[in-house]
């Protein structure tokens, strides 16, 4: 009996490490038994509380949501491009990332083209989305996103995706 409990506690520990404390996410097989153990055994309860505390800390990890500018820029870059040849203008290259040797040359090169493309890109997105009140800064960002620049790095990973496209495109 004691041996079985130890074995079950070890299983429970593994389960918490893999799936976390939310029992709904555990595999169905054996879930009820292990949940009973969680409630009835002090060691099981301790393990669960620790897993819950860790999950709570993990949930503090930063996330982010898209700004209107970013969404507009992507739509403008795509729709405004000729023959679906829109290219990415690296945003990260214009900002300094910790631990990175960021290159700012691309962004600098595209300003003339950006100025020309800005009005078109802004108008295009506004027409699509119905969003108003855009500023000059918005326009510049749209333009940066919609310009075509040489970006040899961009496609290096594009052939790695799979999913809804035919194999020859993946």
């Amino acid at each position: 009996m004691e041996k079985d409990t130890k074995k079950d506690l070890a299983r429970l520990s593994d389960l918490l490490d893999i799936y976390g404390p939310d029992a709904k996410r555990w595999p169905e097989a054996g879930r009820d038994e292990l949940q009973s153990l969680l409630q009835s055994h002090p060691e099981g309860r301790r393990m669960l509380r620790e897993a819950q505390a860790l999950a709570q800390v993990m949930d503090a990890a930063p996330s982010m949501t898209a700004s209107t500018n970013l969404k507009a820029g992507i739509v403008a870059a795509a729709v405004g491009s000729k023959d679906r040849e829109a290219r990415v203008v690296p945003i990260a290259s214009g900002r300094k990332r910790r631990g990175s040797t960021a290159n700012t040359q691309n962004l600098g090169r595209l300003w003339p083209a950006a100025a020309l493309a800005a009005s078109f890109a802004v108008g295009l997105y506004l027409g699509v989305s119905g969003i108003g009140g855009q500023t000059f800064d918005d326009a510049i960002q749209f333009a940066a996103l919609s310009s075509t620049v040489s970006d040899t790095d961009t496609d290096s990973w594009l052939d790695n995706g799979t999913g809804g496209f035919a194999e020859d495109l993946l």
Partner: protein, 207 residues
């Protein structure tokens, strides 16, 4: 995401019937996109971009790079919309997979740039007894970035994106067993590096 209003599947939790419906809706939307329908494309962007950003931000630890990834992913979707095969996957699944690949590519580029050195920000997960919310966020971010990339990706997809185990395995092109191992090692590593943080939430648990 168009057909994927609930956060994706989270890829894998849908019934067969609703997955079929989702694929049909995706197919219809992608057909519109392939014909240059800006509204359809905007719908895809609006519904999917936050998930792409969340995965990229947590995997890369950098907002600007996450935005780059978002651009790359959606522009690729735009370029290839006319070759979409609806029966193969949902758009959300495809977005996750391409985002993960793009993140892996970025991380490899970083390694080349830094000669394999661990960026300074990954070493900061130390013991602070008390901390404000922002400090905790930074500490958690640093701990996450300190994990090996595949452990981090597995945790981002399973814990943060709430994907099923099989969907994570598919997205990472790995077996379920391999993902389980990655998750367990990742969580144990976080439990160790963030010991003071989670212990602070359990004041009555002895050291």
């Amino acid at each position: 995401m168009p057909s994927d209003d609930a956060k994706p599947d989270r890829a894998g939790t849908r019934s067969g019937a609703s997955q079929g419906e989702a694929r049909q809706a995706d197919q219809a939307l992608m057909e519109r996109v392939s014909q240059g329908d800006a509204q359809a494309f905007q719908q895809l962007v609006d519904s999917g971009i936050d998930r792409v950003l969340a995965v990229a931000r947590r995997t890369l630890g950098d907002e600007a790079e996450a935005e780059d990834i978002a651009q790359e992913v959606f522009l690729r979707l735009w370029r290839q919309a006319d070759r979409w095969e609806g029966g193969r996957a949902q758009v959300s699944t495809w977005l996750y997979r391409v985002t993960v690949n793009a993140c892996i590519d970025r991380l490899r580029q970083r390694k080349e740039e830094t000669g394999g050195e661990v960026p300074e920000m990954t070493t900061e997960a130390t013991q602070q007894q008390t901390m404000e919310e922002e400090d905790l966020r930074d500490t958690m971010d640093a701990a996450l970035q300190g994990l090996p990339e595949r452990q981090r990706l597995a945790l981002v997809l399973f814990h943060y994106e709430n994907m099923t185990m099989s969907a994570v395995a598919e997205t990472m092109d790995a077996s379920v067993e391999a993902v389980e191992s990655l998750l367990a090692r990742g969580r144990r590593a976080l439990k160790s590096s963030l010991r003071s943080e989670w212990k602070a939430l359990l004041p009555d648990v002895p050291e």
